[in-house]
Amino acid sequence: MAKMTLEELRKLRDEQKKGLTRRDMENKDTQIIIGMGTCGIAAGAKETLDAFIQELEECELDNVRVTQTGCMGLCYVEPTVEVIVPDMPTVIYGKVDAEVARKIVRKHIINKALVNDHVYDKPAADIVDKGGAK
């Protein structure tokens, strides 16, 4: 690498920052959880995951954390994806292929509107948290 000027250093820092903020897990208020059970993977959850990562990158969103989980129990509409955005209802989407994934990023996360035709459920109440089933 050649010697840099002040401007070049600043430019390099901005570029590098994007990469490192992705690794920084603080200040991420939005969460996308992808069901990666055997059923999910068979239905294409891996492509869905890749699509989410790419789309977030293109839209330059750095407040979203994408994690994986096991089967959510809705095996008939795999791949399933749970999306948690502050001040919006938490939603489980079904049949999320790469295209729907991109739609979720643009519509749900950026424009704060649900992708209606893929909403399948809201998450089950956590009976462990709520002190047992009544």
Partner: protein, 596 residues
């Protein structure tokens, strides 16, 4: 740069490296390629996470899974289960019981009360990749210092921060800089003291290993402030990993124009050279260090003149230790006012401590000044290992003193430590429990200083040896009552008359333990008894008839075959053969062996 699905951070500090973290790193890369996740997973070797007790440590993002005690063969499972299938490897998690809603890193007690300024990049970035340092606002301070600030501005900012030297005495950093800046001599030097030698201390090593660029940046900023164009990093040859990472960092910085001639195209030039020390403790003393840099024998010279005006090669030199330097880029970047909000009235900022000894979570911790000893030992450190009773903490290494149970709630800062007869020192913190004999501890530290004394001045050379002989007598049960008075006299004479800090502070551990634990000294002298059961000449091991079931374990383990007895019969220790190693005591499952 493309986005990744997963990030794996592997600790590359010396502690974890000794636990084969380099092999873990290589295995992870290999396994990752095998399953075709290469472009989707970034694997980074970082600096020390600080939680050395649990090492080697591997952290996986975005799940923030904190894997501990990882072995090279675990790499396959981490990749195949976690990275491919998205399932955490529960058995490797720090908090297995809570694994379902498992603690993220900031929920682990060890990290709860910490505040990381010096260690801001340790365990976060790859220390061998300058881009990652730059991405974490690295070299912003340098930009400001070179292009936007005058030397006076820089010193003013350091003054506002209230930063004091982290290497021992706590001298205000800005004053040192100002003396050097004001010196008439045109050639000046910047020196980094990385000759960390206290037993049990490794803050500086970890900082250099985990974030070498912060030191280069800081020294360059100081160069601009005082008008120096050359610097030396004096580091001991026993720190090969830190030296290697420094060399890589210096090469990268030079290639990118952040070090060397015309930094970032400006007319300011600054370069740095590494000087290796051979591991002499006295070379941590600044005048001895300077002589060693010059190629002379590492021996201290009287001060004044101070290095600020007569330093390396007789030229004005700023000397700060690693931790002090590591604060500088942040102070220039975020401002002295920001920094001065952390800590207490007289001690600003944070302090890094190396927690070792009889503590559950040994490791590297950084806390705001003013945090109490209780918080460090019990909340962060997790208390005493093996359910024993806390006895004391030794701070400041062989120059410091002990702090006892009664003073656990003392806020840790320069003033309070001094009041207690200890010092901040570089930050080693050795925790002792009921099994540690204070006379023995004092003897250990004093023995260290006697070995490391350069021998130039009589108070240190002769006084140290005399003190050591007295302590040795006491631990053998041959002490006399007026020994206590003698210790005080010799100790005070050394404090007053020694040439450098080594001799002046060498009696501190003795005087301090004597002050707080005089009873223990007296028990050795009068009753020929070691209350902690440590001093071999004063103890003997015996077997309790009503507890011994005759299992024979102690007899099998005894290295000198001093224990005899038939199976299922009472065993007995032959006192003439016994070497008092304590093996029988620690292996007996029935508490039948006791110390008298």
């Amino acid at each position: 740069m493309s986005a990744y699905n997963h990030y794996i951070l592997v600790c590359g500090g010396t502690g974890c490296e000794a636990g084969k973290s380099d092999q873990i790193y290589k295995n992870l890369i290999h396994e990752c390629e095998k399953v075709g996740c290469k472009g989707k997973t970034q694997i980074v070797k970082t600096g020390c996470f600080g939680f050395c007790e649990q090492g080697p440590i591997v952290k996986v993002l975005p799940e923030e899974s904190f894997y501990v005690h990882v072995k090279p063969e675990d790499a396959k499972e981490i990749i195949e289960e976690h990275i491919v299938k998205g399932r955490e490897v529960t058995r490797l998690l720090y908090d297995k019981a809570e694994s379902k809603k498992r603690a993220a890193i900031d929920e682990i007690d060890f990290y709860q009360k910490q505040f990381r300024v010096v260690l801001r990049n340790c365990g976060v970035i790859d220390p061998e990749n300058i881009n990652e340092y730059i991405a974490r606002d690295g070299y912003v301070g340098l930009e400001k210092a070179v292009f936007d600030m005058s030397p006076e501005d820089i010193i003013e900012e350091v003054k506002k921060s209230g930063l004091r030297g982290r290497g021992g005495a706590g001298f205000p950093t800005w004053m040192k800089w100002n003396f050097t800046k004001g010196a008439a001599e045109p050639t000046k030097y910047i020196v980094c003291n990385a000759d960390e030698g206290d037993p049990g201390a490794y803050m500086d090593r970890s900082t250099l290993e985990g974030d070498p660029h912060s030191i280069l940046e800081a020294m360059t900023i100081a160069g601009k402030a005082v008008g120096a164009s050359y610097g030396y990093i004096y580091i001991r040859a026993e720190y090969p990993l830190a030296i290697n990472r420094l060399k890589i960092a210096m090469k990268q910085a030079r290639e990118m124009g952040l070090l060397g001639d015309n930094i970032l195209g400006s007319d300011f030039s600054f370069d740095i050279e590494i000087r290796l020390g051979a591991g002499a403790f006295v070379c941590g003393e600044e005048t001895a260090l300077l002589r060693s840099i010059e190629g002379e024998r590492g021996m201290p010279t009287p001060r004044p003149p101070f290095p600020a005006t007569h330093g390396a090669f007789g030229k004005p030199s700023v000397i700060n230790n690693v931790e002090t330097w590591a604060n500088i880029p942040v102070i220039i970047h975020k401002g002295g006012d920001w920094f001065s909000k952390i800590g207490t009235e007289d001690s600003k900022g944070t302090k890094v401590f190396a927690l070792t000894g009889k503590i559950r979570n040994s490791g590297l911790v950084e806390v705001p000044m003013g945090t109490t000893l209780r918080e460090i030992v019990f909340d962060i450190g997790g208390g005493i290992a093996n359910g024993k009773e806390f006895k004391a903490v030794q701070t400041g290494g062989p120059s410091g003193g002990v702090i006892t149970k009664d003073y656990l709630d003392t806020p840790i800062d320069y003033i309070h430590l001094k009041e207690l007869g200890s010092i901040m020192g570089s930050g080693g913190m050795i925790v002792m429990d009921e099994d540690d004999c204070m006379v023995d501890i004092a003897k250990f530290y004093l023995g260290f200083c006697v070995d490391e004394s350069c021998g130039k001045c009589a108070p240190c050379r002769i006084g140290g040896r005399t003190l050591y002989n007295i302590l040795d007598r006491i631990t053998k049960g041959e002490g006399e009552l007026d020994d206590i008075q003698k210790i005080k006299e010799v100790g005070h004479a050394m404090q007053k008359a020694s040439l450098c800090g080594l001799g002046q502070t060498a009696p501190n551990p003795v005087l301090s333990t004597l002050h707080y634990f005089e009873d223990e000294y007296k028990a050795h002298i009068k009753d020929h008894r070691c209350p902690a059961g440590k001093c071999k000449k004063l103890i003997s091991y015996h077997i309790l008839a009503d507890k011994c079931i005759g299992c024979g374990l102690c007899a099998r383990r005894c290295p000198v075959n001093a224990i005899e007895g038939e199976i299922r019969q009472l065993h007995e220790i032959d006192q003439d053969t016994c070497i008092k190693c304590g093996e029988c005591y620690s292996v007996c499952k029935f508490d039948a062996v006791y110390v008298r």
